[in-house]
């Protein structure tokens, strides 16, 4: 007499897939957030003709409280040139763009040293501005 083998169903538990995807997503969002500066408060100055920034390597923000940030992290103005030089490294001429996001009411005493630091580090400045409303 032949005894029939029992067949076991082995399926991947698909119910957990959504949770796994969600956790992975949270992980990557947090990872990306480390370099993000969207949480900083600043208002762009207005200009008539604007260009889209390309191949930028870093972003420097001066917020409403005149504090400076490099890639979303606070930094002292004295350390900015060295930190930017490290970030830019030996990048090619057209790939050394640094985004400069300065609050429109910031004064020269705060933003000029930042511009000088970017220039010293060999960065190409791209002022982030908004379109002037007519």
């Amino acid at each position: 007499m032949k005894i029939p083998k029992r067949s076991f169903e082995a399926s991947v538990p698909s119910m957990a897939m959504g949770d796994i995807a969600f956790l992975l997503l949270i992980f990557f969002v947090i990872l990306a957030r480390a370099q993000d500066d969207s949480h900083l408060r600043w208002e762009p100055a207005a200009e008539e003709e604007l260009e889209q920034a390309k191949n930028y390597k870093a972003s420097v923000v001066i917020d409403v409280d005149n504090k400076s940030y490099l890639n979303g992290r606070p930094i002292a103005q004295g350390q900015l040139a060295a930190a930017l030089a490290d970030l830019l490294g030996n990048a090619e001429q057209n790939k050394r763009t640094v985004l400069l996001k300065v609050h429109k009411d910031a004064t020269a005493i705060h933003f000029e040293p930042v511009i000088e630091a970017v220039s010293k580090a060999g960065g190409e400045i791209h002022h982030v501005l908004e379109k002037r409303r007519k």
Binding site: G18, H103, T107, A108, I125
Partner: protein, 140 residues
């Protein structure tokens, strides 16, 4: 005799809810992460330790205050600044002579600075900054 109605079990398909949530998250993330990075590129010559004073004196100098623009020592209105600077720069042939030395007062706002540097660049000038260094005066 009463006939019993069959009660139909109507439930939303719970299996797809995680997929819907996932797609919604992706949608909001993409919406949040698209920040316009529009603006204006600016080339500022690298600062030198010992600037060539002979050459520097030939370059046009612009002094910027909160309310006024001073071109080579003469106050000019905002409207006449661009054409006057353009006429000064038109006489310069070498690229090095088209460098405009910009000296801003401490209280000049970024918005005003952007407007004036925009005018300088439109007039054909290359902006370079003259930043005042803090000096300590000892009074006897």
């Amino acid at each position: 005799m009463k006939l019993r109605r069959n009660k139909l079990l109507v439930e939303p398909p719970a299996g797809a809810s995680s997929d819907i949530a996932f797609i919604l998250i992706i949608f909001f993330l993409v919406c949040a992460s698209v920040q316009p990075e529009q603006g204006r590129p600016q080339v500022i010559p690298k600062s030198e330790e010992e600037p060539d004073k002979k050459n520097q004196s030939q370059n046009p100098e612009v002094e910027l205050t909160r309310t006024a623009v001073i071109l080579n020592g003469d106050p000019v209105s905002n409207k006449t600044f661009a054409p006057r600077l353009a006429s000064v720069l038109a006489r310069k042939e070498r690229k090095a002579d088209k460098i405009v030395v910009l000296k801003s007062h401490k209280d000049v706002s970024y918005e005003r600075w952007i407007n004036v540097t925009g005018l300088i660049e439109k007039a054909g000038g290359i902006v370079t900054l003259q930043i005042e260094e803090e000096q300590v005066h000892i009074v006897n």
